[in-house]
Structures are given as structure tokens and as C-alpha cells.
Symmetry: D2
Subunit: 361 residues, 4 copies
Amino acid sequence: MAGNSIGQHFRVTTFGESHGIALGCIIDGCPPGLEITEADIQIDLDRRRPGTSRYTTARREPDEVKILSGVFEGKTTGTSIGLLIENTDQRSKDYSEIKDKFRPGHADYTYHQKYGVRDYRGGGRSSARETAMRVAAGSVAKKYLKQEFGVEIRAYLSQMGEVAIDKVDWDEIENNPFFCPDVDKVDALDQLIRDLKKQGDSIGAKLQVVATNVPVGLGEPVFDRLDADIAHALMSINAVKGVEIGDGFDVVSQKGSQHRDELTPDGFASNHAGGILGGISTGQDIVANIALKPTSSITVPGETITREGESTQLITKGRHDPCVGIRAVPIAEAMLAIVVLDHLLRHRGQNHGVTTETPQI
Amino acid sequence: MAGNSIGQHFRVTTFGESHGIALGCIIDGCPPGLEITEADIQIDLDRRRPGTSRYTTARREPDEVKILSGVFEGKTTGTSIGLLIENTDQRSKDYSEIKDKFRPGHADYTYHQKYGVRDYRGGGRSSARETAMRVAAGSVAKKYLKQEFGVEIRAYLSQMGEVAIDKVDWDEIENNPFFCPDVDKVDALDQLIRDLKKQGDSIGAKLQVVATNVPVGLGEPVFDRLDADIAHALMSINAVKGVEIGDGFDVVSQKGSQHRDELTPDGFASNHAGGILGGISTGQDIVANIALKPTSSITVPGETITREGESTQLITKGRHDPCVGIRAVPIAEAMLAIVVLDHLLRHRGQNHGVTTETPQI
Amino acid sequence: MAGNSIGQHFRVTTFGESHGIALGCIIDGCPPGLEITEADIQIDLDRRRPGTSRYTTARREPDEVKILSGVFEGKTTGTSIGLLIENTDQRSKDYSEIKDKFRPGHADYTYHQKYGVRDYRGGGRSSARETAMRVAAGSVAKKYLKQEFGVEIRAYLSQMGEVAIDKVDWDEIENNPFFCPDVDKVDALDQLIRDLKKQGDSIGAKLQVVATNVPVGLGEPVFDRLDADIAHALMSINAVKGVEIGDGFDVVSQKGSQHRDELTPDGFASNHAGGILGGISTGQDIVANIALKPTSSITVPGETITREGESTQLITKGRHDPCVGIRAVPIAEAMLAIVVLDHLLRHRGQNHGVTTETPQI
Amino acid sequence: MAGNSIGQHFRVTTFGESHGIALGCIIDGCPPGLEITEADIQIDLDRRRPGTSRYTTARREPDEVKILSGVFEGKTTGTSIGLLIENTDQRSKDYSEIKDKFRPGHADYTYHQKYGVRDYRGGGRSSARETAMRVAAGSVAKKYLKQEFGVEIRAYLSQMGEVAIDKVDWDEIENNPFFCPDVDKVDALDQLIRDLKKQGDSIGAKLQVVATNVPVGLGEPVFDRLDADIAHALMSINAVKGVEIGDGFDVVSQKGSQHRDELTPDGFASNHAGGILGGISTGQDIVANIALKPTSSITVPGETITREGESTQLITKGRHDPCVGIRAVPIAEAMLAIVVLDHLLRHRGQNHGVTTETPQI
């Protein structure tokens, strides 16, 4: 059943395989009057692109986005926006290895079992290449949120393997190829990647994504809570295995007197909740963490089976990131942006003109 | 905007406030021919009910469910099923304290800001009482899954505060009031609850929920992945702040050679993935962990503000669980059951008759 | 699959069978702050109720609605609203006749084939009794539309059999049991019903439903056009076989120069379009016509088959309306109200703050 | 709010403006394993294309469709299918006339009021050019229905102006440029079109669309009835102002004894219902009629206003069909195919394995 859409009001639907002709998406429900250009979108696409440094894969994916509809004279018209990225790197390759074997840790086996047919070229639809369109759509959401409400959505790498950051300097993030906010950890990250390349292995990562200046009141109890929709959006990113809001799993050993964020006339005294209470935004920063598994595309040989169910071994050739988590930074931002904008429009429809007695905190 | 529904194919929509007249739900899209009685549903409701032991609140909530429609001569008819639980404990209380003050850590402030009006009696719609209908709907899903596919969905408490289990004995879970699978930890949990009651404080918890015998092939890439929908469903439970699939946040420091689950002619050699690859079920156990925050309903005084924004203090009176996580066990089972059944029906619609060459593992 | 909901933003989900315990619905997404009482809703329910005159069935269905949630201190809270009507007329009857035979013109055969099981008592879910909840939900929509935007939604009987009205006097509609706006046709309608009762037969009807003061701009091209959603909503009413917007089927023989509504500085010069252009409301009256088939519940014997496929005859006993179209007047109003409010909220979410250069016509 | 999608299970989302870079759509939820080529889709696109005869517009729109994803080695993979048609006729034109004036009978005024911004080139998103993607998506649905279930979906012109057909010869339909099934009316239609061209005027039309071999049991009461969803789909086609199922508006003057379709051991004795009872398919032919208004793109001058609200006149230049209804034949087929397939998948998910006692009629 149709599963390639996200969002109710601001809805993004995507298509495209890793080695197909093109990737594309339709953004439906975008407010009219937003100034948007291909260059605006390209900025985020370039941040996601592999090959931008020696730390990520060297494959050439220019990812040049085209706006095909929904924008007229530089502004969104309120109708559906078509975006397209042509795959320039479709050269015929030798897929005999992965055609008949299931790569362990990949979706080969499950796609085959679900659909009975599988585009095995580079992982087909299950490839992380699909996330390019998430980033493209997310950049439209980010621009509207920033311009109309001052909302900013940013992410960074907080841990890779055992290397965890000790501080967050937002200005540092774009200065290194790891999106790392702690300049003192960059060398250790660099060394870790070098070692993994030698080993032909990969490593997991942890990211934090933060939205600031989010209006209070976003989120629809009881199922479409803002945090539930954020969890859905972030968990839908390839390789993500965990999502936390605010203090996340640390709450397990917290006491109530310690966790609850007290209110003062100047605002909340803390933000253990991560900006969401009862599924509705508090106006504080929305803070989420995600865990990304190490990619299974490694050159360490692995046991697997053929389509006929016979035992065999497999090595994933080609150039692959030792840490896919790095590139997930702009993807995580995009997903959070899509959810926040979707809920902002949902909220505005139902609650326009609501006046509250409390001074806005 | 409408946010009180979950599921596309098997859809549950709920209503009801903590101290309103009644709670109810509509189950839409249930397959016909399933034998279901009020007694079947009551079993799970009783497992969730507070007051069943000294460890949970002593409030009397019989939670007697009535089937109002959609079942004829003991079987589901395929039409919408209406379920109702009347609130028997609606006696007028003194709400003056919480009427004008926002309880810290609760949804009072956000509901007020979102809607401009708030049913303050016992938390209104934001109360965990709402989860009774999730459990009721989930028990219908559980019965269908068990009967037609042998799927079993069970959860347990894996940690409370610093007390973590060391082993999982499924037979032990229903033998103690904590849904704890490790008999050797029951005394420690008991002592922790006693201490918290003395302190008037509360504590967080961690649960694991597991689905066994899940057919391979469930889940819709790329957004409605099975894991993404599970994350949505579990994060929508009151107090949940984190969700993990499989190894969860442990993957951050894992290597690819360590994480990937190798395949053998006899099946997968391990289950780090938690039963889901590329968003699609592998046929292995689906394993998820959730973190539940400590309830903010405690007698330790807290700083807050009035509706007029002035500084004040608040103590939450009444009988409250020191650990809301315990009662979340049947709720987590219900949410997982709803998601799995929803995806089973979604899959069946699109892929009926798909034949694969690989022997089913 | 889940099909018992209508609306995206203002969503109504219903349950209940003709002779079950109760009928109910959940209204999700209603704006907060609307003053609404059970008495408000009861007015429309009483207009729909059979037995209010000798022209409609004499069955006693008090249809007393209860608000179970979502309204606090007389105002909607923005959370889901639960409505319930208990069936008081559930006395055990002899259903042996319709249990094993399919009534021609009814849904007995199709429900049986679709679900394999069928609540045959009074038609079960396929009974027009289900429409009571549409009327209840619609009255909430009507009140919000009236109060916030001055929108009024009214319907009338424009034809029954060969008796067609010649004029529309809105003040006359509630003065006769036919919702007929032409006082000069009331006697003819009265005579037609008497004749049909003698014959044990029934007759079709045509209704017009009109919304005035609808804001310009409602409707979402290209699929969720306002007219498309109105067609969906009206065609979903039992017995409806045709829907027209504006001039409807008369356009087949119209020329373009005749049909197009010219614009002047004082507004549109005509309203052939029925208030909708390109799927979006023009600000003029929205005008729709519907055709309702004659009920198949008649005492003229009919040929049919048994569940075993053998030839047999059937007479529908009990008290039944010779013209079900009459009672459809408040139902048609309700459905149009639900669609208009849904689109108003959808529009407000996306286009809030849009400013146009043209003076509002 | 997002309105450019149709279908729940088999979902089609479209984008594109009349004079933009390209039109496209995403088909989501298509069953895997269907053999489909661009040539298959092109057949229906060519049937819709203007300029195929002197009766339709002479604009050159090759409408060459490209499959961008979701099809591998000639078969659908179950993932989202991206389709694209590049607009080859984007040459810069003089739009000054329609830029500042609202064409009467068109969506210019309503788009302007709704969004505050408008792509005025050739009607932008409101142009019938958008329907090309409906036809493309519909041809995929048609192929699956035909191949798996033997369902055939065909339409024809039943009336244009006062010229109505007297007989239906299915073999005749593709033999004349009017999709007219009555060879004896072709000359009259031809003359009517010639006269209109001289007058610079246009005319309305009526079509009938029929689905044969539809399985019994499709449709989801009570809101997503099969007939309600068909009405939605057909009314969403540009220029459609009326939809009938079965006998349609004729039922107004029918008696119950006349309308109800009696059942015999050999099947239904008649088909007044148009193949749908209680919102569920009966297994008989599904029959629907639609009325299409005369296009407002005519050279007869019309009164209108400028964006500033001042009185002015307008003539629509360019080559336009005198009867847009003709080209709607493949569009109507496409919309019915999308709805029937969507419901087939919905039904299969919920009711797979349902066994009924009645012999299939």
C-alpha cells in the first residue's frame, strides 16, 4: 500500500532508485508566495552529497535539482511542486554478485520476499540515495519556517564509535567534514575513519537535531503528537535504529522531581522534555537524538545465502562511506523541518485566532 | 487537525477525557469473521488497570468495556467496531488548584496555549486514562494476529531507575505486579517503589516489547517503514521519550562487521536489526525498547506559574503511581499489535499472491 | 479497509447498526471554543427522525444524542468529540425472512459477498439509520460555519415522482412535512404518498442543497476539488444515484457563451457554475442537486434468491417511508456542511494571510 | 492542504502546469510483477491528445511519457512509479491579455483569490493539460485490472448538445474522432462541430463509462462507498458538472417496484443500480454518466473584470476544442480504473480468504 508519502498538510511523496533514470518528489500543500529557487535547494543537497571530502564516498553524484512546477516567477503558487534529479552515474556495471545473493544487513532479502522482484542495482529503492529528495523537500520547508516564523533547524554529529563530543559550538559544524560541533574531536574522528578504511569496516553514529524558535502549540494529541510524528520521520531515515526526544533514555533513571521542567514568569527553568509536553510544542527548543547503525557495505567478507537458499559469502565492492551517519545530518534536519511545517499548517487550520491569557513565554 | 486516529488499514480512532462521561474508540477496517467478546478485551484492560496492586494507584476504575457495534453473533462483521468504557469515578472534586495553575511536566500549559481552553479535570484528554482505549483496540488486533498467523506480542519491564533485569523469563512476567521477567529483581523493585512513596517522588522505566512469528515482508518503504510506524506508535504513548529498534543506541559504537546479521540456510545468525531491514520485517522477532519518563504527578512541591503568568508553587494531590512505566506494558503491546496488523493488511492488499524463489527462512 | 471516516481536517468517523446497541461518531479536528449543546444537535436530529408525521415511518426512534467528550463547560476543547445515540427499539423480532434471503435493491447480497457474514437485523450497517450520526456531526459543522462565517446550509425537496416544484420559498420549507418550498405542490405530494401507501410501493425524489455566504477560495485542486468532495459526500448518502453541481446535466446542451458566468465590478452576473470554478469556491452560492432512488422496502412481492442460491420471493414487512428522499433533507445539509468546514480549515492552514488585489466580490 | 493525490491504496499524485517545464505523477502502491512499458501508456495518452483530428485542437503536444522508476526489467517492482511528460510547446507567448484579466468560466479568479498568486500561462495548474497524467496513471491501473481480473473499462460519448446517440456499438467507438458508439450520429456531430467553429462557440457533452467483469464486494461503507469514490473521481475531471450511477436522475420518477433489481439463480434480472448496492459492487457492470460543460475558451467576447476589479471584455485566442467532452473519454476511463483498482486492493487487504455460501453470480 502507498507508503512513499510523509505529512498530512505539507506532504512529500518521492520516487526513484539508486541506479535508475532519475529521482523525484512532489511537494503538495506548500503555502503560496514563498520565494524559492533551485539554488536554495542545492545548498542542502550539496551538504548531503558524497564525494565532498575524502571522508565520504568518492562517487560522482552532482545531484542537480530542477524545479518542474509549482513555482512561478520565483514564488510558490500553492500548487504541487515537482522536483527532479537526474541520475548521471548510471553506467552499466557488473551486478552479478548482488543479483543472486542477499547482502547481509541490507534490504535485499526483505525486498525480495515482499515483492518477489527486486531492482538489485545499487540497492534500488532501498538505497540511501533516495534521501536526496528528502533533503530537497526539507529545504523548502526550512526556508518557509525560517522566513515566516524564524524557526531554525540544525543538526550535528554528537558521537561516532567511541568518540563523543564534549561541547557544542554551532559555528564549528560546517567547518569540518564531520558536522562535528567540537573542534577538539575532529582529529580523533579523522583517525577513526582512516583506521576503518584500512580495516574495510564501518562504524555507527549519533546525531542531535534541534529546532529553535518553534511556536508553542504544535502537535495533535493523541496519536499525531509532535514527538510521535518526529519519531516516525527520523526512524524512516535509512540506518536509524533509535530516536530520543529531550532526555531520551536517560529518563529511565531520573526521578520526577528531577525531570519535570518547572515554569517561571521568565519561561521554563530547564528543558528535559525536549520542547514537547503532552505531544505539543512548548516553545522551547525541540531536541532529538538519533542512532545510526554502521553500514553493511563493507569489504570484510560476510556469510549469506543465494536466492536459492544456499550458503555463500559476499564482499561489498565499490566506494562506500565508513560512516553513513555523517551524511545523515542534512537528512535529519530535512525530516524535522517537514514535520514541524506540517504541524504548523495543521495547527493553523484548526486553531487560527485562538487567544490565550498567558503571556507568551 | 484530526489527530486521534492511528493506522491506515486497521484504523483506531479514540475519544474521551480522564473525568468525562466515557471513553470510546472506533476500530475501522477489522477483518470479518474474528470471534471476539467483551471478556477477551477485558483481560488486557485489567492488566493495565490501576489499583490492581499496591504498586499502582488505588483509584477505582473498573474499565468495563462494551462492544456497541461491528460484532454480530460473536463475530466481527467487517464494519466499524464501537467500544465504550463509562467513567464511573466522575465525582465532583476540587479542581481549583490545577484550574488556574499549570502543573510542571504536564500538558496543562501546552493544551492551554494550543486551544485557549482546557478540560483541567484530571488532565482531561492528556491523561494516561486515554490509553485504556488503545489497550482495548490492541487486544482485538492481538487476537486476530495470534489466531490467523500465530503472532504473539508481549512486553516486560526491563529497568526501573537503576534496577535493571539480568535475564528474561517469559513465564515470570505475569507473576509479579511489575511485569518483571527477572524474579531476582522483584524485591529491589518493591523496595524502590516503597522508598519513592515515602519521598513523594516518582521514577522512570524502560520496557521491551517483542513480536514473534511475524511474517516476512511487512512494512512500506520509504516513509511508512515498519520501524518508522512502530516508532510513531510507541512514541505516542504518554511519557515515552525514546524508542529503539533492535540494538538501538548501542549501534553507535558498533562496527559493520559486528552489527550486520549474517544469513545462513537455517536463517539469520543473529538479530541486531530487531527483525526489520530496509523498513520491512525479516521474519525474525521484532524487538523494540522504550523509555518512559517519571510522572510529574508527585507531592514534592514544584515551581510553576498561574494562567496570569505569576509565579506560584504546586503539589499534585491524589493517588498516583510512582512509576507509570509499569502500566505501560499492556499499552506498548497494544500499540505494536495495531501497527503489525495494519501493515499485514496493507501488505496483503498490494502483494497478495507474490511468490518468491527463496525458501522461507 | 477503513472506510467509515469522512473529511481530512474536520473528520467524522461513525459506527453502529440499525438494531445494534447504539450508534456513535467521533468528530476529530473541530476548532476549539465553539459553544455547542446536545440541544443544538437534537434540532437537526429531530428534523431527520421518522415518525414525525404520517408521511414518514411510524417507528419510535427518539434519537437522543449524548455528548461524551470534547466539550467542556459548554465549549469545544479542540479534542475529539464523542457522540452517542442509544437504540431504544432493539426488541427481538422475527428476522427469519431476511436472514436467509437477499432483499432485492438492498445491500444484503453485497454485504454477504464482501464480508461472508452479515448483521441482517434491519439491514445492519447498511441501514439508513446510520445517517443519524451524519446529521449529528453535521449540526456541529453548521453551527461553526454559521457563527464564524455566516455560512448557511439548507436543502429542500424539489421533486418527488412527477411532482416538481415551480418556485422556492425558503420560509415555506419547515412548514410542511415534505421540506417542500412550493406551498402549491404540498397537496399533490400528499396525494402521491397516500396512493403509494395503498399500492405498497415507493417513489424517488430530487433535492437541492444550497450553501450561502461561503468564502471564496475553498477547494484543493486537482483531486480534492470542492465539487469533487461534495460529490463524494452526497453520493455516500444511502439511495443517492446522481449528483449535480450548478446547472448539472443541463450543461450537455448549453453553449459556452451561454454557460460561462461573466464577471462585473458588482460580482458574477449569473451562477451556472453553482459557486465553484476550477474546483474552488467563487463566493457565490454553492448549489447541488441529488437524485434519491425509491426505497426497495416495499410490500409489492419481489423475486430473489436464498443464501443457497435458490429462487424465492420476498415482501418487506414493517413500517417504511414511501419516499426516503424526504428525510434526506437534513442529511444532505449535514454532508455539505462537513465538506465546506473541512475545506475551510484546510484552506486556512495553507493560505492564511494570503492577500489578493481584487476587491472581494 | 495537500489535494493532488487520489486513492488510498493505489495512490496517484500529480504535478505540472499547462506551460511549465513538465508534467509528472507518482503512482504509489502498485502491485509488483505487472509488465508495463512506456508504449502501453502511450496508447491511452494518444487517445487523449489534442490535434489527432480536425475536431480537437491543433496544438502539438506529443505527450511522450517516460517511466523514471518503479519498473525494472519490464516489470513493476512494487515501489513508487515516477512518470514524466516534458512540455515541448513552451515557447514564450503574449500573456498580457489573461495576465491581468480573469477569463469568465475559468479558474483564473478563484486561483487568484485562493493563492494570491497565479501562473496565468495557459491556465497553469487549472488547465485540462493536467489530465494527461491521470490518463497515464489510469492506463497502468487498466492493465492490471484487465490482466488479473479481466476487468475492462471503456467510455463513449453519448450526447453532444442536442445530438444524442440511439444505440451502443462498442466496435464503432474508436472508428470516429468523437468516441461515438452510434455510427448514424457521426455526421450530425461533425456538422455541429463545424457550426460551432464558425460561431466561435463551444458545446457541452455527456459521456458514459462502463466497467465490466468487476468482482463482487468492492467498496467500503459507509463513506468510502464505491459509488461515492467514483463520483469523487469523475467530478474531479475538469468541466464535469454532474455524475450519475446506474439510472441516475431517472430514479426521481421511478417506483420501488420498478427500480429494484430482482435476483434470480442466473443473476440479477436488471441493472438499474449500475452495478453497486449499498456502496459495494454487485458483480454486474458498473455504469456511470457524466456531464461536461462547454469550454469557456471561446472567441465570443465576454464581460469580465481586471485584477483591479474594473470592467473589461475578453476574447480567448488560440486553438481550442469546441467540445472538451470528446477528449474526456480516456480521462473518464482512467479515473474509473484508478478507483476500481484502489478498492480492489483495499478489499483484498481486509477480506482475503472470505468465503461465502452463495454461488458467485
